[in-house]
Assembly symmetry: C2
Homo-oligomer: 195 residues x 2
DNA sequence: GAGTTGACAGCACGACCGTTCGTTTTATTA
DNA sequence: TAATAAAACGAACGGTCGTGCTGTCAACTC
């Protein structure tokens, strides 16, 4: 890995953390330069535009998400174990990933939903992949017999996603200490109701 | 209503709409002045600071939410009818309220969750009131016999909230046309599973 | 209808924004 | 080690940001 790539990666590490705190738009290049010890123009040259930087931040987040949430779950047996692993890894993936702010995908989702551009497109793709991953795990669980045959995998994936969203808000906005317990309970209830 | 108040209200109408599109932080006073036909300083004088403006925007949103979502539901019979009305009114309250962007409370939630200040405090209060309102409606539904006695009203409120969050994201970010149907289905399933 | 209050405009402030450019330093390769 | 390419810097650009201050004109009060 050349010097350039190395710098670029360390910029993106800092940028991801910072963006999780202040958002993709709230992130400023000058501030990021100060935090990484680079000059503004030197940092800028790595990406060419702020939008490109935002896309790269999202790409970095996605890779980290894949490593922390998805990959470990793939090592579980197909079916309910894998589905549960996906959900449980999801709950504190940002902490495990060294990201101080909340889930950047959720922040970006509301930040970008009324804009257009490459960052939005990238995010939409990412979210769809995640929902498909979840739905596939559900489908597999049905096939393994741990969920009833009437279960719609897409509906089910959305409901799991909803539990995560509510959990995230309760934890980060309301500082609700019972948030995680409630999320886990909601997940298990959902499973139990659909056997 | 004096002239000042009138202007203030019309500023806040525009500001709420705009903030729903670009966020509370993304909203700029200069741009808002242009849109309302005022000078920047003239508009600014109404609030004294950007943070105060943000709080007033949230207050405006809360009032509109109460009028569109909560008030009509209060006219329904206590119990399942009222609970269902709350949920269904919720789904497109922004459209009915003439707000072009998404639900400003959700946008603000992720924008403010790592900040501190009056806007955050106001939002937290608002969200807690809403969750309590929801939980009370659930409780009442249990008492009326339309939900089982084992139902935890707080848990149940959070699950409903989660359905809304997933719906909102599917609709606004993914432009998923099936989002509303899925949300309504999820709600009815939740009810049916807890009778 | 005169006097007082409040609403608003105009202008300026320092700070910071993303972006460009030319130059200098540092790495890589021959 | 010399030649070449890549990386980073410093200064500057035109703009916009939120926020003051001062003056003027319109709206209310008596």
């Amino acid at each position: 890995m050349g010097k350039g790539e190395e710098t670029r990666d360390s910029i993106l590490d800092t940028a991801l953390d910072q963006a999780s705190l202040v958002g993709l738009e709230g992130l400023s290049i000058g501030d990021l330069a100060k935090k990484t010890g680079l000059s503004k123009s030197g940092l800028f040259a790595h990406f060419g535009s702020k939008e490109a930087l935002q896309v790269e931040i999202l790409r970095t987040a996605m890779r980290r998400f894949a490593k922390i949430v998805v990959a470990p779950a793939q090592r579980q047996a197909k079916g309910i174990d894998r589905l549960r692993a996906l959900f449980e890894n999801l709950l504190d993936w940002t902490e495990k990933g060294g990201i101080r702010g909340g889930c950047i995908f959720l922040a970006a989702a509301v930040e970008l939903d009324d804009r257009e551009g490459l960052a939005r497109e990238f995010l939409v793709e990412t979210q769809q992949i995640w929902l498909r991953t979840l739905a596939k795990a559900v489908q597999r669980t049905v096939r393994e017999g741990d969920l009833g045959v009437g279960v719609d995998s897409q509906d089910f994936a959305y409901e799991i996603h909803g539990i995560y969203l509510a959990y995230h808000q309760a934890k980060r906005l309301l500082h609700d200490l019972g948030a995680k317990g409630r999320a886990l309970r909601a997940f298990e209830t959902l499973i139990a109701n659909n056997r």
